[in-house]
């Protein structure tokens, strides 16, 4: 898809063309899921967030003045929704959730579950944007330019972000990595 035809679809969606909007849903739902998952680390919740995001976007689509910024606008809505949800479940904190479930799984699932848990906790300790960048990259394996467009970042910004994110995780997971190696 060229930029021009993409923009044409965005414009139609903003005007209220449902078919165009469904096309947008198809092409962006995975990205938004990655973003929501990056923040929430929970698939069900992330899926709900993506749902809500599209409904809300449909209702307030007339606020978008520049069609080129439509993807970035969608991802902003998703990030806000996810953040709201994360804040609401604060009383039942995130890491506890993991580790208790990890602890149970540790016994039964063995090595694989252990690695899984280590990676997830290392990911959870990253700043939000870094987390999102990592999930977006590893979920959908898009090139940097597309991800930058989705997140509304400037050209070339993602390289630094991903580099820092992976660097931090690497340092944290050093013992585990050594054991794999």
């Amino acid at each position: 898809m060229t930029d021009a035809s993409e923009h044409e679809i965005y414009r139609a969606a903003i005007r209220g063309d449902r078919d165009a909007f469904e096309t947008v849903i198809r092409s962006f739902s995975r990205n938004l899921f990655a973003i929501a998952y990056g923040i929430l680390q929970n698939r069900e919740e992330a899926e709900d967030v993506v749902q809500d995001t599209f409904v809300k976007a449909w209702k307030s689509r007339w606020r978008v003045r520049d069609a080129a910024k439509f993807p970035a606008w969608l991802s902003t809505i998703a990030r806000h929704r996810a953040r709201d949800l994360a804040r609401r479940r604060r009383p039942e904190p995130l890491p506890e959730d993991f580790e208790s479930s990890e602890a149970v799984e540790f016994e039964s699932a063995g090595q694989k579950a252990d690695l899984d848990g280590e990676v997830r906790s290392a990911l959870a300790q990253l700043p939000e944007l870094h987390r999102i960048a990592v999930t977006l990259r590893y979920f959908e394996e898009q090139d940097y330019g597309t991800i930058e467009q989705t997140l509304g970042l400037t050209n070339g910004a993602l390289r630094g972000i991903l580099g820092r994110a992976l660097g931090l995780m690497r340092k944290r997971l050093k013992p585990v990595l050594a054991s794999i190696g």
């Binding site: 997830r120 991903l162 580099g163 660097g167």
Partner: protein, 682 residues
């Protein structure tokens, strides 16, 4: 390769994600060969990349995810019918929103207008009627009766007369609706109420037109109440007509037509020859309105008033008192006839009889008067003739304005005052002296016409005349056209004299020149003697010497024009005359005595001075340079001060605000951190 080493995190990730350009990849791999540390990191990163691919990637959305999203979206946002969605979309357009808000505001304003009753047409009538009701309430004695009367009226007329207008809302203070009901038939109501006057003003044309129109049918429809009423109708009118006598004839004609008569006429001749007078006409009350209409054709109606007075009660009171008095009379006569024994009693009865008879006569007279008033309406017409075209006489008014310049203002002023005689009246005389010592005087004289020329010439001879103006005005009396036969009279001449000192006079000619000479002092003295010879006066002089040793003497003097040329000739004797410039003010409007008009001459006598200035040479230059430098330094210091005064408050304010904001954000970050720490260890 320090940069590669420093950016190793970025490059590692980008390499694994295949986002490096060929050149970058070559450099990066070359560095890996050299650097063991980075090689180690590369290995780890590769492992982690694999690990992430294994662990995270299987958390990603399942293949049916998009379809699920779309179908759930369809469930949650059902399709709306075409029209609703179009309207909903339209409402989101900014222009449509603005229009809607404007329309809403307009609607509110219109509603407010309707509620407060600001519309014009219906309210005027209401106001008029409520005024009458108000007036009604002011007379408490009459109000009850009038209420009763109008109630019966309203009932009897209700069937015959369909309401012309919807009934106006009754004022809240009114206890019952009936007076207002009655008021709907305004003229008949006025006729029915006691001691009520309704004045129909000319400017209220609408009401006036309605009055006769509504009166006709109402009178015919209700003959019974009106027949018993005793109404006195009066009218006055003021008209402007061309000819008084002709108008009186016309009025007499109208009066006969309407079965009336001219009671009195009176007229008087006014100063401008116009007639003004009054005609009193008696006509039958029913014909009064028609008569008024006709009257309008005679001339221009200035104003008109119509009054109606109900004298029913007074009439019947008098009538019953008369009846009683008659009975009393009968009784007294009977007493006189039958029971006359005592002379004293007899006398008393006689006396009483006389009193009663006198009373009867008075009352009969009153009744007769009222009858005549009721039988005929009185119309008083004031007639005034319009201004005619031909004036009666002309008056010639002369006004003279004389400005004088005198050497001694006070002396001239006293001389003019001494002219006073019965034919020369001095109306005002004042002499002013302001704080700079300037004197001026002003006199106003009234001169008998035959003396005026002689006196004016005498005054002119007393001092130099600057300006003299005469203004003549012909005033026509009693008309505004041209009268051939009218005689012309000369009125007293008004002469206004102003005297100012000749020093204040503006010179006719100004000359400036320079005289170069070797001895300024000596030549200035000579200049003074020359000026005196030529009848001039030195007005100012000054002397100065500059640092270069040059001397200047500035002398300004004034000579009469006739001596000007001689003075200029003799100046050549003083030295070399330079830079002569002459400026002459011609005053074409004024009569000027040129010979004696003043000419100003400003002369600068100066010497050459030193050839080399004291202000030259290395030291002087140095001194000046340092001085200028110091001045520039001080100036820049001042500018810096000004700039600080401009900026300092803002800098302080911004610093304060940013300090507070930083405190707030730091506190928020700390709180967040604490919350995360609390959550973390578990």
């Amino acid at each position: 390769m320090a940069t590669i080493h420093e950016q190793i995190d970025e490059l590692l990730a980008a390499d694994l994600h295949d986002e490096l350009s060929a050149a970058e990849r070559d450099g990066f791999h070359a560095h890996l060969v050299e650097c063991a540390e980075c090689r180690q990191a590369f290995q780890e990163e590769k492992n982690m990349h694999k690990l992430l691919n294994e662990t995270i990637a299987d958390k990603k959305a399942d293949p049916g995810f998009e379809q699920r999203m779309v179908s759930r979206f369809r469930d949650r946002v059902p399709k709306r019918s075409g029209l609703i969605s179009v309207v909903a979309d339209l409402l989101r357009v900014r222009a449509v929103q603005l229009t809607a808000v404007a329309a809403l505001l307009l609607a509110l304003a219109q509603m407010g207008k309707m509620i407060t009753g600001e519309s014009v047409t219906p309210s005027k009538r209401n106001e008029y009627i409520s005024d009458i009701v108000e007036a009604d309430r002011d007379k408490p004695g009459a109000s009850r009766e009038s209420g009763l009367l109008s109630k019966t009226d309203g009932r009897s007329k209700g069937a015959d007369l369909p309401a012309q207008n919807p009934p106006p809302p009754a004022p809240a203070q009114d206890k019952s609706n009936t007076p207002v009901e009655g008021l709907r038939q305004l003229p008949s109501f006025v006729g029915n109420t006691k001691t009520k006057k309704a004045e129909v003003q000319d400017e209220n044309a609408v009401n006036e037109k309605e009055a006769p129109a509504a009166q006709g049918p109402s009178e015919q429809a209700t003959p019974s109440p009106l027949a018993n009423r005793k109404l006195v109708r009066n009218a006055t009118a003021e008209l402007e007509v061309v000819s008084f006598d002709e108008s009186v004839q016309k009025i007499t004609g109208f009066a006969t037509e309407e079965k009336g008569y001219v009671a009195t006429t009176s007229s008087e001749k006014q100063a401008n020859g116009k007639l003004r007078g009054e005609v009193v006409v008696k006509v039958l009350p029913d014909n009064l309105d028609r008569f008024l209409q006709k009257l309008r054709g005679i001339g221009e109606l200035k104003n008109q008033a119509l009054t109606t007075e109900d004298v029913t009660k007074a009439y019947f009171d008098t009538e019953s008192r008369l009846k009683n008095a008659r009975l009393m009379e009968q009784r007294l006569i009977e007493i006189l006839k039958t029971k006359s024994k005592d002379v004293a009693d007899l006398l008393a009865v006689e006396k009483e009889l006389g009193r009663v008879r006198e009373e009867i006569e008075t009352m009969q007279g009153e009744l007769k008067l009222m009858d005549s008033q009721v039988a005929f309406a009185t119309m008083t017409i004031t007639l005034a003739e319009k201004n005619m075209n031909i004036p009666a006489a002309f008056l010639l008014k002369e006004k003279a304005q004389l400005s004088l310049y005198a050497t001694e203002v006070e002396k001239t002023y006293n001389e003019i005052k001494a002219l006073a005689s019965p034919k020369v009246q001095i109306t005002t005389a004042q002499i002013d002296r302001d704080n700079t010592g300037r004197v001026s005087a002003r006199l106003s004289l009234l001169l008998a016409p035959e003396e005026s020329d002689a006196v004016i010439n005498k005054v002119k001879g007393m001092a130099r005349v600057e300006n003299f103006q005469v203004q003549t005005e012909r005033v026509s009396q009693g008309g505004d056209g041209l009268g051939e036969n009218a005689k012309t009279e000369r009125d007293k001449v008004e002469l206004n004299v102003t005297i100012s000192r000749d020093e204040q006079e503006q010179s006719l000619q100004q000359t400036t020149l320079r005289v170069r000479t070797s001895d300024v002092n000596e030549k200035t003295k000579q200049l003074r003697t020359i000026a005196e010879q030529q009848n001039g006066r030195i007005r100012s002089s000054s002397f100065s010497r500059d640092p270069n040793g040059r001397e200047y003497a500035n002398v300004s003097l004034r000579v009469p024009m006739k001596n000007y040329n001689a003075l200029m000739q003799s100046l050549n004797a003083l030295g070399k005359v330079e830079n002569v410039s002459v400026h002459r003010d011609d005053r074409p409007n004024a009569q000027i005595d040129e010979e004696n008009a003043p000419a100003d001459v400003s002369i600068q006598v100066y010497s050459q001075g030193n050839i080399v200035s004291e202000e030259t040479g290395i030291w002087a230059t140095l001194r000046r340079t340092i001085g200028q430098g110091a001045a520039a330094l001080m100036w820049s210091a001042r500018m810096i001060g000004v700039a600080l005064a401009f900026l300092a408050p803002w800098v302080l304010a911004i610093a304060g605000v940013s300090w507070v904001m930083r405190r707030v954000s730091r506190a928020r970050a700390a709180r967040k951190l604490r919350a995360e720490e609390e959550a973390g260890p578990q």
